[in-house]
Structures are given as structure tokens and as C-alpha cells.
Amino acid sequence: MGMTLAEKILSEHAWKEIRGGEIAVLKVDLAYVQDGTGPLAVRKLQEMGFSKVCNPQRTIFFFDHASPSPRFELSNDHAFLRAFADETGIQVSEIGQGISHQVVAEKWVRPGDVVIGADSHTCTGGALGSFATGVGSTDAAVAIALGKVWLRVPETIRVVVEGKLPVGVYGKDIILHLIGRIGAAGATYKALEFVGDTIESLDMAGRMTIGNMAVEAGAKVGLLASDDITQGWLNRMGRGKEFRKLSSDPDATYERTVPINARELKPTIACPHQVDNTKTVDQLGEVRVHQVYLGTSCNGRLEDLHIAAQILKGKKIHAGTRMIVTPGSRMVYMEAIKDGTMETFVEAGAVITSPGCGGCVGLHEGVLGDGEVCLATQPRNFQGRMGSPKSFIYLGSPAVAAATAIEGKIADPRKYL
């Protein structure tokens, strides 16, 4: 009997064949924490009595949430992490290097890897055909110390996306549409696997957006097969030799299949205060917006910035609306400076912040006040996430973000394309 992609990767790491529903201890290929979950992970490591770690070359501390630190308490946390990394040889990705999930996709994740990250959006790595999943600080500490994790092998929900995407519709709209359909707990404990000709023709940026938001449907992992586009990405990153072609077997067993007709999709928005509270942009009515936020692990890639810049080129951001742009990594930032994308944003009146998680977590760089409305490209819109619990977060694609910045209200990007 054939195996799903999840079963294949996990079997390789359990040293035996394992199937959906089984529980196994697995070898971890890459483990990382960020500056919000890392200090607790280090305290757990110390509590367990570990002064050495299993694989320091493939363990990374990311300084991406408070980047740079806006408070002395967080500066102290950073110092604590740096000191532990110095003692153990753990890799450090300093402030301004970028968001963990973006940087691991550039430098670390290989198709077929098991990746454990103390951040829920670790599932972004599924776009490269790796079993990448988010855990808490304790599980991450154990993965760092022992190079192992225990997991229940998930059953797979197969999402088949077919047809050419209409102009102005992107990976973000596919995943928002899916979450709206199956719900925020529609894939809890399961693997989501995305197949079909629409997925096959999506660039890596679109694929990462989809993998990133798998957790917003409750999924353990959001997997895509590795193919020529994955190979192209790894080549571009100077890691072409790390490519492996991986996919589910044709006769694999799926829990269920969700078909999506890409031709019928429209720009889609998640409304406050739940990611599954979705509407298409034409169903929305007038929503005045105070802040537009472009970036994050969901949509902070070069292709995302290009989509927004294409719409904003030669235009000005609406009076009374502000726009913040946070590139996902230093590499993205550099490329966007060199090709003029950043100039377009600055000319339009946007604020550029240093690469990192930026305003998404409500810590700094775009914190919302009482009654304020934000249209963000981030993956999550829970009440109070970006600051005041009396603020409102709508989620949409980079194209929606750009059109919204121009009009000062949530806008349909298709008329600009």
C-alpha cells in the first residue's frame, strides 16, 4: 500500500515504516527557537541538566520577534540566548537577519527533513517538502538536547487545487479560502497536503504562504511535493545539491480530499477576530483602514513585495492611512533595495522596518491603538494580537494590501492589474 508524503518522511526518521495514527520517536534534522520562545527553552534545557546539545550545527536561535529589541527586558533575554549559544556552539541568526521561517527556507531546510521549531508557523517549511512543525519550548528543548521528538503520524487531508489562478488572486487567497471552508480546527492533528496543477505552477513564495498558514486550520504540517520549482529555489540559494524529489505515492490513503477550483477564486479577506471568518473582497462592504501592514512569515518575500510595488508604483498612500513594510529577511531586503522595490514603497509614503516579525505579534513597529483597523498580510488576526484588544485586524494578500493603502479602505486589487 502506498504512503503519503508525511508517512514517507516520518518513516525515514523512525527507522521503520510508520502509518497515520501511529506514535513514534523521530530523528530531528533541524531545530530552532526564536527570541520569544528561546529563553524558556534554554531554561528547560538547564533544568534537564544539559550543558551540551545534540547537533549545534543544525540548531538555531533566531532573534526575529524583538528585532531590534524595543525593551531592556528583551535585550536581557537576547543576552541570555547569546551566552547559551556561545557555550554550546548553537547557531545564532542575529537581529535584522530575518524571520526564522524565511531564513531556514533560504539556508537550512532540505526536502525530506524533519524540522522542529518553537514557533507555530514552522510549518512554512512544508513548502520545500519537509515535515516542518511547530512545538512549544519544552518539546524544542528536548529536540535540541536529544535530537529527537515524539509525534503522532498525522493522517493526511489532500487539497487538490486545479485551474489557472485569475489575475489578482494568489497563494494567500487559496489558503484563506481553504481555511474559511474547513474552519480554524478543520485539520487539527492532521497533515494538509496541497496538490494539483495550480500548486505545481505556484512559485516558492506562494507555496510558503500556503505552508505557513496550514496551522491556522489546526494542521500539524502543510506539505507540498518537491519538484522543479523547489530545485530552482535551492539552486538560487546555492543549495542545489540538497534537492530530493519527494511526493506521495499514487495509491496513498488519504483521510479525505478537498477540491478547490482555482478559476473561481477571488481576492479573499479574513475578518476580525478569526482566521476562518473569511469573505471575498466584493462581499466585504466599506472598511476604513488606518494601517496597512505588508510582511511577516506569511508574505514577506521578494515576490510579495513585487506584487505590492507593481500596484503602488507612481501612486501615493491615502491620507489618513499609514503603510508599514517589513521584508522577511536580509536577503529579501537586499534584493528589494537593488531592484528598486524599496524605492517604490518609500516614494509612495510607506515606512520600511528592519527584517523580522515586525508588528504581527503586537510588540513594536506598528502596534494598533483603540478602535484602529489594520489590513495585514500576516497569518493571524486574533483579538488584541497587534496591540489594543479594541483594534481590528483583517488579513489579505500583498495585492489587497497595496490597493488598500491607495484607497484607505479595503480594496479589490484586480482593477490595478
Partner: protein, 164 residues
């Protein structure tokens, strides 16, 4: 041990439990724990007593992987969390920290009900309503972690993962 029910709705996220605006307090857990459910349930920290129960609806603990959410629940003296369903990272984080996360029909529990948990027997006695709710057995792996006193204690004991 008997305790009082604190009833919450569906989709309580880790952002509701302890929002990002208190990110800077994550290395100061006693101070962080004062802000638990601050907007959702003002005054929770001052009114909750040791051994109380947190009772939610569907998809409890969705969102961010921050383990500080179950930790502040524990520091506020909650003995167990009852919900119709849990988000997976939160569910693991609870057991890793020795907090039972119990899946049951919480529609039958009201705010302030006096509850008593019998973990081994798989039942919750609601003394206020004079009825007993049963729940499916905790998965053996989670039970093992709980019995060892959390994952840190487990690893200290075995110097390895010995869950099966």
C-alpha cells in the same frame, strides 16, 4: 480536589490567554501571570483560587506556540483545563508542563459549578449539578508524561524519550 469552573467560549487563543503586548514579561512568569485573560475575563487573576478549572469550548489554545500560555494558567492555580477540543501545540504544552487537558462535553458545565476530576476513572463530577461527565481516556503517551510530572521530569529520569 474540588474546584470552581471558569467558563470561556470557543476559540480561546494563546493571544487571549497571554497577549503579545506582554512579550517583554516572558522571563518574569510571576508578573506575566497577573495578565492572564486580562481582556477576556477582567479580574481573573485576583479571583481565581488554587484548584479551579478552566473550561473552554472548541479549539482551545489555538494560535501561537507560546508555552507561556499554559504556564500562566498553571501559575494561577488551575488544576485542569476542560474543553470540547484543543489546538495541538497547546495540548502538548499542557501535558509537557503537567497540566491535564481533558476533552469532554463542556456545554454541561456552567460558570461557577463545583467540579471534581477523577483522572484515572475518566470522569468529572459536577457537584453543583449533581451529575457525572465521562471523558475518553487520555492517550497513553500523554498519560506517561503526566505521570512522570511533565516532559522535563521525564527526560531527567530517563535521559531520553522513553514514552512507549
Amino acid at each position: 480536589m474540588k474546584g470552581k469552573a471558569w467558563k470561556l467560549g470557543d476559540g480561546i487563543s494563546t493571544d487571549h490567554i497571554i497577549p503579545g503586548r506582554y512579550f517583554f514579561l516572558r522571563s518574569n512568569l510571576p508578573e506575566l501571570s497577573r495578565h492572564i485573560l486580562e481582556y477576556e475575563r477582567p479580574g481573573f487573576h485576583d479571583k481565581v483560587t488554587l484548584g479551579d478549572f478552566m473550561v473552554g469550548g472548541k479549539n482551545f489554545g489555538q494560535g501561537s506556540s507560546r508555552e507561556h500560555a499554559p504556564l500562566v494558567i498553571k501559575l494561577n492555580g488551575i488544576q485542569a483545563i476542560l474543553a470540547k477540543s484543543f489546538a495541538r501545540i497547546f495540548y502538548r504544552n499542557c501535558f509537557n508542563n503537567g497540566i491535564p487537558a481533558i476533552i469532554c462535553d463542556t456545554d454541561r458545565i456552567s460558570e461557577g459549578d463545583e467540579l471534581e476530576l477523577f483522572l484515572e476513572e475518566g470522569k468529572i463530577v459536577n457537584h453543583t449539578k449533581r451529575e457525572t461527565l465521562s471523558f475518553p481516556a487520555i492517550p497513553p503517551v500523554m498519560k506517561k508524561i503526566l505521570d512522570d510530572g511533565g516532559l522535563v521530569e521525564h527526560v531527567k529520569k530517563y535521559k531520553d524519550l522513553k514514552l512507549m
